[in-house]
Structure formats: structure tokens, C-alpha cells
């Protein structure tokens, strides 16, 4: 039984200003690893996964120090997709930031659009119309189902189950068709505007969504039958990547990651927006905080989203023909035919496009429950039409930060499962 020190140093090779190769240390030196029962004297191995690796769900790079097959530590590297969205937003009008939000969490673009509009409306003190609220709830819940379906399918693949991936992507395709009919785009939706929406839903949308709500739970039941009591699935997920409630709070986790650890916190319930307090739905809570509970939580959230969608569809029927935009020509572009024929409308159009909408001096933070967790947009305004600061509180960035803790002492293959269970989107992490 001997104690030995780690001789592997985690470092990135790079070039110094003269062009000569050098190494940049990756992290602080950790205390020497106590070998415990291992007296084989094996060397630690340093392996690198990513940034171009399908199992890292994007351009995430993991440097993993292994003792045999046991993970000693994981150092995640991010930033490969950094696009400087927060900087770009400082040079844009509020409505012009909406296309940037599509490209952050690109698995739920509509939910990001909604959050941006809500944050800007909070800053400007705008109350939106009732139909607009209901349509935004529809957008958020469709996004939640789409995002969770991608998560379920890809996590299944990571753990060796291919069939549910096809089921999930078939259902996702149905929602994408609806989303495309509404917004004209499958990914770059940009469907909200400050004070309203880009467009109302098209004919046939409600019928299509009702059809989806009727048939989709059958797919969930099939996934449930395939996974929930599957010995391989349970073996790979139960008791792996565990984080308990107090730790989850301490790591600022949010969304299904937090709720799987038994913390009853959902922004829709605790800080309601868009009238979520008037919908009847439950928030699933896990108890073990492992991958299996995260799976159960997300599966149940899809059922609950269907419930919300059904209630929203009933409300849409009642609100048919109601306005989707607020009645304020300084904020909402006039219809194109009026712009071309009416002098006053043209002036409003010109001023909005050329000068933008001025926000009052102040700042507003608004958090919404996105599929990945709490997405928060923080605006600081100095009274001009462009924000001084647009901060994204990215849920998967903060959730990913606990990966090194979740991976302590697990096997290498579990790292893939744990990383998948966090449900990351690199577009949002790197922004």
C-alpha cells in the first residue's frame, strides 16, 4: 500500500509570442492522489474527448485523467463556439437582438425569442395582449417538447439504444413542421417582437397541434415501455452522476437537473410569467439526483407540456380574432400596405427601423423556465434604443460547470452518460 503522486500535468501545448512551442497549465495543481488500495503502480492516463466528438453534444472538449478506467478528474474546455452575442447585442436595437437568441439554445429557439421579448417588455413596462400570452405559452411548450425529444433520442444513442431516437425524431419532425408553418423557419424562428409577435398562427395549426397532443403520448408510452424498466438502461443510469439537493442548489443548477435532485423549483410556478399560474400542470420532482431521475423528470415534463398545450388550445379558440400585438404605433410596425399608402404609418415605420425603440433608463432581469433550465436575460439600458448590456444567464453553461463534480470516481463510459444527462447546447454555453 504505497502513496504516490500524480506525475501527469494537465497542460495545453501552445505557442509563445516568438512562435516557440510552450505549455499552458490547464488548472491548479490538485493535492497528490492517495492511491488507496491500488498497489499496481499504474500510471495515470490523460485522454482527450472532443471538441469534434459526437458524444460531447457539440464542440465541448473534455480532458480526462484516468487511473485504469476510473476517472480521477475531468477538465472541461469550452469556448469553441464563442460568437460574442452579448457584445453584438450592444450594437443592435431590441428587436434586432431576437435573431441572436435563435442561435444560442438552438434546440428551443422559440422559447429564447419569448424570453427576450418578455425581458425587453419588463424593461419598457409593456403589458401584452391575452392572445399573445397564450401563443407564447404554446411556443414555449412546443420548444420544451422538441428539446426534450432531442435529449431523449441522443441520450439513448449515447447509451446504445437507437430505436427511441427514431421515434423521438419522428415526433419532433411533426412539431418542426408546425413551427415552420407558423414562423417560416425550422431553426431561426425569430417569432416574437417587443410587444407582440411576428405573426399569428396559420390556418390548420390548431388542428395539427391538437392531433399532435392526441397521438404524441402514445410515443411517450412506447419510450416508457422501452426504457423505464429496461435492465440495461437502469444499470447505466441509476446511481450514476448523483448530486443531492443542497449541492444542486449550491452549484446553481436549474431546470430538470435541479428538480431531479428533489428541489421543487420551477420558474413557471415560483415566479410565474405569461399567466402560467392559470394553467393546471404538475412539476415532476426526482429524489435521487441521478441520471435515471433526470430521465424520469424530462419524460414527465413532456406529458405536462401536452397538458398545457391542450389548455392553451382551448383558450386560443375562445380568443380567435383577438389582437396579438399591443396597440402602440411607436413599438409595433404598421402593416406593409399601410406603410406604403399612409403618411403617418410610414413615419412610424421609418422611425422604428432607423432609430429603434427607446427603452427608459433602468435595468431588468427576467428568468423563464427553458427546457434546459432557467434562462435569464438581463438588460441594462441608458435610455437609448440599444442596450448597454445584454447578459444571458445560460442554463446549460451553469449546469455544465458541475460536470467535474459529477464525474469524480466514475468509469469512463459513465462520463458520456453524465454529460448527456446534463442536456447541454454549446451554442448557449459559448454564446
Amino acid at each position: 500500500m504505497s502513496t504516490r503522486t500524480v506525475e501527469v500535468s494537465l497542460a495545453t501545448p501552445s505557442l509563445d509570442p516568438r512562435g516557440a512551442p510552450t505549455t499552458t497549465p490547464l488548472g491548479v495543481a490538485l493535492p497528490a492522489y492517495e492511491a488507496g488500495t491500488d498497489d499496481l503502480g499504474s500510471e495515470h492516463m490523460l485522454i482527450n474527448i472532443g471538441p469534434q466528438h459526437p458524444a460531447t453534444h457539440g464542440v465541448l472538449r473534455l480532458v480526462i485523467e484516468l487511473d485504469g478506467e476510473t476517472v480521477i478528474r475531468v477538465v472541461p474546455h469550452i469556448g469553441y463556439l464563442h460568437s460574442g452575442f452579448e457584445k453584438l447585442a450592444e450594437y443592435r436595437h431590441y428587436n434586432q437582438i431576437i435573431p441572436l437568441t435563435d442561435r444560442t439554445d438552438y434546440l428551443s429557439p422559440m422559447a429564447n425569442n419569448v424570453c427576450l421579448a418578455l425581458a425587453a417588455e419588463k424593461l419598457m413596462g409593456i403589458t401584452i395582449t391575452e392572445r399573445c400570452q397564450v401563443l407564447r405559452v404554446v411556443a414555449c411548450e412546443i420548444s420544451r417538447i422538441i428539446s426534450h425529444l432531442v435529449w431523449l433520442g441522443t441520450t439513448g444513442i449515447d447509451l446504445g439504444a437507437f430505436t427511441p431516437f427514431l421515434w423521438c425524431f419522428y415526433q419532433r419532425e411533426r412539431l418542426y413542421n408546425l413551427q415552420e408553418a407558423w414562423t417560416g423557419a425550422r431553426l431561426t424562428t425569430s417569432m416574437t417582437r417587443v410587444g407582440g409577435l411576428m405573426a399569428d398562427i396559420p390556418d390548420g395549426f390548431e388542428a395539427g397541434l391538437r392531433d399532435f397532443c392526441r397521438t404524441f403520448p402514445r410515443t411517450l408510452a412506447e419510450v416508457d415501455a422501452m426504457f423505464t424498466r429496461n435492465a440495461i438502461w437502469c444499470g447505466r443510469t441509476q446511481g450514476v452522476g448523483v448530486i443531492d439537493g443542497p449541492d444542486a442548489i449550491n452549484y446553481s443548477l436549474s431546470g430538470p437537473m435541479l428538480r431531479a435532485s428533489g428541489v421543487d423549483y420551477d420558474v413557471r410556478k415560483d415566479r410565474p410569467y405569461l399567466g402560467y399560474e392559470t394553467y393546471d400542470f404538475d412539476v415532476p420532482i426526482g429524489e435521487h439526483g441521478d441520471i435515471y431521475d433526470r430521465y424520469r423528470v424530462r419524460l414527465e415534463e413532456m406529458h405536462q407540456s401536452v397538458r398545457i398545450l391542450e389548455q392553451a388550445l382551448d383558450r386560443l379558440e375562445r380568443l380567435r380574432g383577438a389582437p396579438i400585438n399591443i396597440d402602440d404605433p411607436r413599438l409595433i410596425l404598421p402593416p406593409k400596405h399601410r406603410t406604403m399608402s399612409d403618411m403617418e404609418a410610414m413615419i412610424f415605420h421609418f422611425k422604428q427601423v432607423m432609430e429603434g425603440v427607446k427603452a427608459p433608463v433602468g435595468e431588468a432581469y427576467l428568468g423563464v423556465e427553458n427546457p434546459k433550465g432557467e434562462l435569464g436575460y438581463y438588460f441594462v439600458s441608458d435610455g437609448t434604443a440599444k442596450p448597454v448590456r445584454w447578459r444571458v444567464r445560460p442554463p446549460s453553461f451553469i449546469n455544465l460547470a458541475c460536470l467535474p463534480k459529477l464525474c469524480e470516481g466514475v468509469l469512463l463510459s459513465d462520463v458520456i452518460a453524465i454529460n448527456a444527462s446534463i442536456d447541454i447546447v454549446m451554442g448557449e454555453i459559448d454564446r
Binding site: 501545448p13 505549455t23 449550491n250 432581469y365 444567464r393 451553469i398 454564446r431
Partner: protein, 205 residues
């Protein structure tokens, strides 16, 4: 407009003059505290049984267009149990070194958030054990991108950025072979050192 958070009065009673002022914007309460009191105030807010701000929602910074205005570091706090929010800010004079205490010992979630603020604004969080760039690469030399004095297209010209990107030879970052070469650089023959410095890696085996 909702009222000022009751935490402000409690903070004033506890910390007196180190709570500089407060404001309400869009219904959110903002408390400005002295830079030196950051850790003490946040620790109290987290642990005091009447406050219980156990959840650190976000850490960020704001640089204003007015260059005379100080840079603000912002902590968004939330109490999950009380369903209450509080935004704590401190102002750092840009003529002084930008430094403030790390709250990593209070919230583990502050780790990457503080690294991001350091990366983007150059604020040093004292006591953070691993403060290095997170979104930009470690050798990034152009400065701090989210500062207002940082031009949208960067400090270096496009030609210089391209030159650096080509010299960096990104493939080299991922091979263990490169690691050993870098460590043994001084022992290599002169011509091989020159070839490496040129980024001419193909012939080195």
C-alpha cells in the same frame, strides 16, 4: 412598481455605511455595497436565517458607455424558500486595478461565472483558485471583449488575427505527441526547433 425589498433595511441595520445606496428598477431591488464588503455581505445574505439567499442566480458585470462611470459587478441572488430576489452590485473604479473578493467558497456555482467575468471584463476575483479565461483561449492577447473600450471587431487588425490563427496550428492542441515535443523543445536539434517555430509539423515524427 413594487416596493423596496425588506432586505435593504436589514442590510443597512447590519452593515451601516458599507451599504452605499439602493434603487428599484422595473420592480427589482438593487443594493450597492462597498467593494471591500462584498464577501462579508454576501455571506451574511446567504446564511442569515431571515434572508436565506441560498441560490446564486448569476454573476456578471456591466461596463457603461460613459467611460467616467465605474464598472459594476452584479450578483443576482435568490432565496428559493422565500421566493425573493435581490440584486447586489459593487462599483469598481476603472483607474484602479479591478479586483473584488470571490464568493466561490459560498457558492460552487460561482466558479465558471467568475471566470467568465474575468475573461470578458478583466475583473480579478481574489481567492478564486483557478481564475483563467474560459470562453477565449488562454493565450488570447487582445484584452477583455465586453469592455466598452474594446472595438466590436477586436483590437488587432483582421490580417493580424488571421496570421495568429494560422500560426497557432490548432491541430497541435490535441496530440499527446505534441505535449512531449513541447516539453523536450530545448533538447531538439536547432533545425528542428526552427521547423517547429515555423509551424511546419508534418515532417516531425
Amino acid at each position: 412598481m413594487s416596493a423596496v425589498s425588506p432586505s435593504v433595511a436589514a442590510l443597512r441595520a447590519r452593515f451601516g455605511g458599507r451599504v452605499l445606496r439602493h434603487a428599484v428598477s422595473c420592480g427589482d431591488t438593487i443594493v450597492y455595497i462597498a467593494p471591500g464588503a462584498v464577501h462579508e455581505v454576501l455571506a451574511w445574505l446567504k446564511d442569515d436565517p431571515d434572508q436565506r439567499f441560498d441560490y446564486l442566480t448569476d454573476v456578471t458585470a456591466v461596463d457603461y458607455r460613459d467611460q467616467e462611470r465605474p464598472l459594476e459587478v452584479v450578483w443576482q441572488l435568490r432565496s428559493l424558500a422565500r421566493k425573493a430576489d435581490l440584486r447586489v452590485k459593487t462599483e469598481l473604479d476603472k483607474r484602479q486595478p479591478l479586483a473584488v473578493a470571490s464568493v466561490l467558497d459560498l457558492w460552487k456555482g460561482a466558479d465558471w461565472l467568475e471566470r467568465e467575468v474575468f475573461d470578458m471584463f478583466g475583473v480579478t476575483f481574489e481567492g478564486h483558485p483557478d481564475l483563467r479565461r474560459i470562453l477565449m483561449w488562454e493565450t488570447y492577447a487582445e484584452g477583455y471583449p465586453l469592455r466598452k473600450d474594446f472595438p466590436l471587431r477586436g483590437h488587432f487588425s483582421r490580417a493580424e488575427q488571421t496570421r495568429q490563427a494560422l500560426t497557432a496550428n490548432p491541430e497541435a492542441h490535441y496530440s499527446l505527441e505534441e505535449l512531449s515535443i513541447a516539453a523536450a523543445y530545448g533538447d531538439l536539434p536547432v533545425d528542428m526547433q526552427e521547423r517547429l517555430a515555423r509551424g511546419d509539423r508534418g515532417s516531425v515524427k
